[in-house]
């Protein structure tokens, strides 16, 4: 199922440059989330959204910002990429109290 897609799938960027990752869902889910996945840390919540223009910080939000101007799109921006932000980023959406639907991930390398 392609109810939630992420772009790009892979990206290499230089330290200090801004980067935006996109998450697009066609499920009309109200809740959307950005996580990063790192070995030994599992998935850690970066930011989440509970509606259009309603967003809040997760446990590892420093250096990241988000925007949600439409129900279907949730953007994650690294304002000035650092090597510590090299990671795999997953977007997820949720309807009510069901489990998450995850995107395929974006593998970001900051050099």
């Amino acid at each position: 199922d392609a109810g939630i897609t992420q772009s790009p799938r892979h990206k290499v960027t230089e330290t200090g440059t801004p980067v935006t990752l996109r998450c697009h869902q066609t499920e009309n889910h109200r809740y959307m989330y950005w996580y990063r996945q790192d070995p030994g840390h599992g998935l850690r919540l970066i930011h989440y959204s509970y509606g259009v223009k309603d967003t809040d910080k997760g446990e590892v939000s420093d250096g990241y910002s988000v925007s949600r101007s439409k129900t279907e799109d949730f953007l994650l921006t690294l304002e000035s990429a650092t090597s510590s932000q090299t990671s795999v980023y997953f977007c997820a959406s949720r309807f009510g109290r069901d489990g998450y639907t995850f995107g395929s991930g974006t593998r970001l390398t900051v050099v």
Binding site: Y31, Y33, G42, Y48, F90, Y100, F102
Partner: protein, 109 residues
């Protein structure tokens, strides 16, 4: 504090052997718990949730409130079960799941 603990980073078993992936949680209310599976370089997929009490791909998990555990079990492991498994707790006020650090299951032939 709400927390999910998966004590094993790696679990290696032989094909046909029973497997148990441990998950313990810390939560003051009535928990909702999930297991997710991630096959190599793929998206995470919902495996099961305790409320539905389903058995997916032969896996089951029982919520034990006394021991605050939600261990994932399968009586006979298959090679295709090799994957990363995450236990998650629905503990966030805005519907966010809290994930454990994951257990990598390796099933050897």
């Amino acid at each position: 504090a709400q927390r999910v603990t998966q004590p094993e980073k790696l679990l290696s078993v032989f094909k046909g052997a029973p497997v148990e992936l441990k998950c313990n949680y810390s939560y003051s209310g009535s928990p909702e718990l999930f297991w997710y599976v991630q096959y190599s370089r793929q998206r995470l997929q919902l495996l099961l949730r305790h409320i539905s009490r389903e058995s997916i791909k032969g896996f089951t998990a029982d919520l034990n409130k006394g021991e605050t555990s939600f261990h994932l079990k399968k009586p006979f492991a298959q090679e295709e079960d090799s994957a990363m498994y995450y236990c998650a707790l629905d503990g966030g006020s805005q519907g966010n799941l809290i994930f454990g650090k994951g257990t990598k299951l390796s099933v050897k032939p």
